[in-house]
């Protein structure tokens, strides 16, 4: 049953523009994870490097990192599922370890989005969709999620105030996270003040305050076999459940616009593998690239019935002392979203929570945590359940 554990976690501080090269950026998350695990580079058997390649000038970064991080001559390879790349990396690391092929695997996520201009970056994000049939219309990530926001509001009566409340929660905790890009308070009033940037329209019905920011960052997760984990780690965090799914890239191929099919499927798989249900989750990290994404995650993960996600945020049930704390590290909305590093950062937060090492944001005695990490606009879905 317990085949692999996480024995080390790390991430860089997420920043708007990292003043170094990508190998140096990757080193920051790696170093923290290795110190956390108490390992040296020669004890890592293989590495999985995760990012969205359209931001990289370096071709095949895995090879470059393996040298810089001291991981030669171990095998290394690259994986990408857009914003969920490092959750996919974790899935691969689990497979490599559970199969017995390797004992200890490093999952290294990174993104230096600032290597290209913001407009170029938006064009590349648009190309995360269908470049043959959608991008020629001038699509962007916020507009796609905005179409889901419209669908959710239409189906369930979710309001713009409900979405703003998710950002207010994120900022409540973002202020406490010294690794986050955005650390200022956000109030609901800001969304009603035309003078305030938060209220500015991006893609209706979403406003600036509903969107996360690009960032540069890295993360690293060290995965080990059960035997190895027990031998070297006092507090192994077990990988109990993994779920992953894909959906048609073109929105014309989708049937539902008030939730993400990939998240529902990945959650079902992960719950089944772990032998737990939504009620068993003590703390969760969900992919809040936009406020609506967190709202849909509440429902797709079963924390709330379909259409009832708004009641969770209205009741503050997803705050630190609520029934199911969600994104109490500030989420992507506060931390920023360095595509390839994001999943690893979410996993790190849950690992720290389960070990009781989450500091100010520690929830009380959590046993089981969940990570929901989405690539593209519900193109790839990954759900990971961790436990002690």
């Amino acid at each position: 049953m317990k085949k692999a554990a996480i024995i080390g976690v790390g991430q860089s501080t997420f920043v708007r523009s990292y003043p170094g090269s990508i190998r140096e950026l990757a080193f920051e998350g790696f170093k923290e994870a290795m110190k956390d695990a108490g390992l040296t580079s020669d004890q890592i058997d293989a590495s999985v490097v995760c990012s969205a390649p359209e931001y990289d000038k370096q071709r095949s970064p895995a090879g470059v990192f393996a040298e810089y991080l001291g991981l030669n001559p171990g095998p290394t390879f690259y994986v990408e599922t857009l914003c969920s790349s490092s959750s996919t990396g974790l899935r691969l690391a689990y497979s490599l370890v559970a199969s017995g092929l390797h004992e200890t695997v490093a999952v290294i996520g990174f993104q230096k989005m600032s290597e290209i201009s913001s407009a170029e970056s938006q064009e590349r994000m648009g190309r995360g969709a269908d470049i043959q049939w959608e991008s020629p219309f001038g699509t962007m990530m916020p507009a796609y999620y905005a179409m889901y926001a419209r669908g959710h509001m239409e189906a369930y009566g979710t309001s713009l105030e409900d979405l703003a409340a998710i950002r207010v929660k994120a900022a409540t905790y973002g202020q406490l996270n010294d690794r986050a890009v955005y650390r200022k308070p956000v109030t609901a009033d800001m969304f009603n003040d035309p003078e305030n940037m938060m209220s500015n329209p991006v893609a209706s019905p979403l406003r600036v305050g509903d969107c996360c920011a690009n960032a540069d960052g890295s993360s690293c997760i060290i995965v080990a076999s059960a035997e190895k984990a027990k031998a070297v780690c006092d507090k192994p965090v077990w990988i109990l459940g993994l779920g992953a799914a894909s959906a048609p890239v073109n929105l014309a191929g989708r049937d539902v616009f008030n939730g993400l099919d990939v998240a529902r499927r990945a959650a079902d798989q992960a719950y089944r593998m772990a032998g737990v249900g939504p009620k068993d989750i003590d703390v969760a990290e969900v992919h809040d690239c936009f406020t609506i994404a967190e709202m849909m995650a509440y429902e797709d993960l079963g924390f709330a019935e379909r259409g009832q996600g708004k009641e969770l945020i209205r009741a503050k049930a997803t705050y630190q002392d609520g029934e199911i704390p969600v994104n109490i590290d500030g989420g992507l909305l506060s931390k920023g979203h360095p595509i390839g590093a994001t999943g690893g950062s979410q996993i790190r937060t849950i690992v720290l929570q389960l070990r009781g090492e989450a500091g100010q944001i520690q929830v009380k005695n959590p046993r089981i945590g969940l990570v929901h990490n989405i690539g593209g606009v519900g193109l790839y879905g990954n759900v990971t359940i961790l436990g002690i």
Partner: protein, 145 residues
């Protein structure tokens, strides 16, 4: 210069304000737009309808397809008005993208210029028509039925 350049059928580069794809087996789609028609493909073997059009049927792995016109009314499923655009689309701002459901298939595209966001509501009847853009490129747009 490159040899046989004129032999490459790159009609598809005319699709959209900015095109990212030049060659595809469904290049006739662009010729149909020139003729004022919006078309999808249907599998000659199993009858499955595809929009956007495809050269190959993933249901029965057949590659014999026939064109059909996207006509009549569909229902507006969802939409969003963009206040920012990606590189190459700044001149078009603001514009509204949308999904329209025709039952057998859905269509992703843009709402025709001149239709105010306030005039739109989920579930309303829409039609789809071929459209020539100010820069000479082609696309298709949704209008109120």
């Amino acid at each position: 210069m490159g040899k046989a350049k004129k032999d490459i059928d790159d009609r598809f580069k005319k699709f959209g304000t900015v095109g990212f794809t030049a060659t595809t087996k469904v290049n006739d789609f662009v010729t149909h737009l020139e003729e004022g028609k919006v078309t999808g493909t249907r599998c000659k073997n199993c009858g499955k309808s595809y929009f956007p059009p495809r050269a190959d049927c993933s249901r029965c792995l057949n590659s014999e397809m026939e064109w059909f016109p996207v006509e009549g009314n569909g229902k507006l499923v969802t939409f969003s008005r963009l206040s920012f655009g990606p590189a190459g689309f700044k001149e078009d701002i603001p514009y509204t993208i949308a999904v329209v459901d025709y039952g057998d298939y859905k269509v992703f595209g843009r709402i025709a210029d001149g239709i105010d966001e306030g005039e739109l509501s989920v579930g309303m009847e829409m039609t789809t028509r071929a459209n020539r853009l100010p820069n000479g490129q082609l696309n298709y747009v949704f209008e109120k039925a």
